[in-house]
Amino acid sequence: MTTEVLPGLAESPAAGAEGAAAPERIVVVIDDDHAMRLSCRQILVRMGFAVETFDNGAAGLEGVGRLKPPLVIVDLKMPGLSGLEVIGRVHELDPETVIIVITGYATISTAVDAMKSGAYDFLPKPFSPDELRLMVGRGMERRRLQQESRRFQLERELLRHKFVTFVSHQLKAPLVAIQQYLDVLRRLGDAPEAAEHRAEWLDRCLKRAEDMQTLIHDWLTLAQVEGGALARRREPLDVAALLLPVPDTYQPVAAAAQLTLTCELPVEPLPIVGDASALSVLLDNLITNAIRYNRPHGSIRVSASRCAGEVCIAVEDTGRGIPEECLPFLFDEFFRVGPAEGETTRPSGTGLGLPICRRIAAEMGGTIEVRSVPGQGSTFTVRLPAGGATSSHPGVPNEPQGSDHR
C-alpha cells in the first residue's frame, strides 16, 4: 500500500515512507489547526509511524478509508464534519480502529460524549509530546490485543468448522454407499454388470447400514458421557466383582476369532466409587478392541489389581500394536490407525470407542493410558482412585446402610 496523499489535502507525503508503509504503522491525524498537525506529525514520525494529516473531517475520512490505519487522532471541534461524526464514520469502516480525540478544555464534556461514542481516549490541549506518545503507545497496544483475540477466535472457529465438516463426512459416508448401490441397481436393471454383483451389493448395503447404527450408537454414548447422563452415578463398586463375568461374556466371541481370553483377578475386593454401567461400557470397548485388532491364535489378558491408592484395570492384546506416531491421537474423536503394513483394509470401527473410554475414566476421576509395541501388542490401563466401602453383593452397587451411612 502506498501512502501517497491527495494534493492539497496534506502538507507533505507521509514522512518516513518512501513508497509504502506497513498498514499497522500508519497514523492518521485530522485537525483543522495547522500547528497541531505539524507537531503531531513530528512526534509520531519519531516514534516510527508513517503519518498522514488532513485539515477537515471529510478529507480525513477519505484518507482513513484508503489507508486503513490502526489509529486515528481527531480534533473534536472542526468546521464542517464534526469530530463526533468522524468517530462514528471511522468505526463504520472498521470498528477496531483506535480513535484518540483532541479537545480544548472548554469542550471536556464533549470529550466524554466522544468516549461514549467509541473513542478510545482523549487528550486535552495543550498536551506535551510525552502525553501524546504515551497515549498513542497505549492505543496501539490496545489495537494489538484486540486483533490477537480476534485471531484466536478465528482459529477456534476454523477448528470447529473443520470438525463439523469431518463429522458430517463420517456420518454421510455409509448412506452415500447405500444410496449409490441402490441407485445403480435400479439404473442397470438386468444388465450383466448388475446381475453379477446384485447379491454382493445388497450384503454391502446391509453392512454399511449396520456401521451406521454402530456409529450413531457410539456417537450417542459419547454425547451421554459428555452431557453427564452416563457415568453420573457415584456408588461404591467392587471392580473385581464387576470383572468376574468377563470370561463368560467374551470367551465365545474370542473363540470365534481363534483367540484365547484370560482374566486375572485378586481374591480381595477392589473398591472404587463410580458408575457400574459406564465402567462396563468402558470395558466392553477395550475388550472388543483387543479382540478386533488381534492376530489369529493370539490372546487377550484382562486383569485388575490395586496399586498405590488406585485400582488398575489392564487389557492386554497380542495384536499388531500401534505405531508410535499414532499414540498422541489415539484418544481423539474419529482418529483411526491406518491399515497395517501389507493390508489394504482395516477392521471396521467408528473411531469413537477410545474417546468414550477416556471420557468415562475421566468422569470417574481416573485416567487411561496405552503402552504398545508394534508387531507385539498393546496394553490399555485404566486407573481409578480406590475408595469407598466394598460391596457385599458382587457387581451390585451398595445401598446406603442406615445409620452407618454418613
Partner: protein, 138 residues
C-alpha cells in the same frame, strides 16, 4: 466401438463408492481403474494417463483430494496429466470455490467439475460424457 474404450480412474478410499460408480461406468462402456488412496491414484494416473479422473477429497487426510489435484495440475512428474479433466467428489456441500474464497488459493485446487455425494447419476453421466466423450457402443 469406434475407438478403444476411454480410461477412467476412480480415486476414493470408500470401496463401496468405487464399486458402484465403477460398475456404472463399465456399463456405459468405459474402462475403469481404481485406487484407494491419493498416493496409489497418482501412481496409476502416471502409468495409464487416463482420459478422466474421479477424485474424492477426504481420504486418509481431510484435504487429500486437493493435494492430488494440485500435483496432477502442476507437478512435473505428472506432465501427461496436466490437462486431464478431474471430477472432484465429496459429501462436503460447499465447492472448493466457496470454501477457499481467495482466488489464488482456489486456483491451486480447482477441479474441472465439483459434484457432491451421493452422486446424482444422471448429472454425473452427462458430465462424464461431456469431459470424456466415448464412441457409440456397438
Amino acid at each position: 466401438m469406434q475407438d478403444s474404450a476411454r480410461q477412467v480412474l476412480i480415486i476414493d478410499d470408500d470401496e463401496d463408492f468405487r464399486a458402484s460408480v465403477g460398475s456404472l461406468l463399465e456399463a456405459e462402456g468405459y474402462a475403469v481403474h481404481m485406487a484407494a488412496s491419493g498416493q496409489d491414484g497418482l501412481a496409476l494416473a502416471r502409468a495409464i494417463h487416463p482420459d478422466l479422473i474421479i477424485l474424492d477429497i477426504m481420504m486418509e487426510s481431510s484435504t487429500e483430494g486437493y493435494v492430488v489435484n494440485q500435483a496432477l495440475r502442476f507437478c512435473e512428474q505428472f506432465e501427461g496429466c496436466h490437462d486431464t479433466p478431474v471430477i472432484m467428489v465429496s459429501s462436503i456441500e460447499s465447492s472448493p470455490d466457496e470454501l477457499y474464497p481467495r482466488s489464488e488459493e482456489v486456483a491451486m485446487i480447482r477441479p474441472t467439475v465439483y459434484l457432491t455425494k451421493p452422486l446424482d447419476f444422471a448429472r454425473f453421466l452427462e458430465t462424464v460424457q461431456r469431459l470424456a466423450p466415448r464412441g457409440a457402443r456397438v
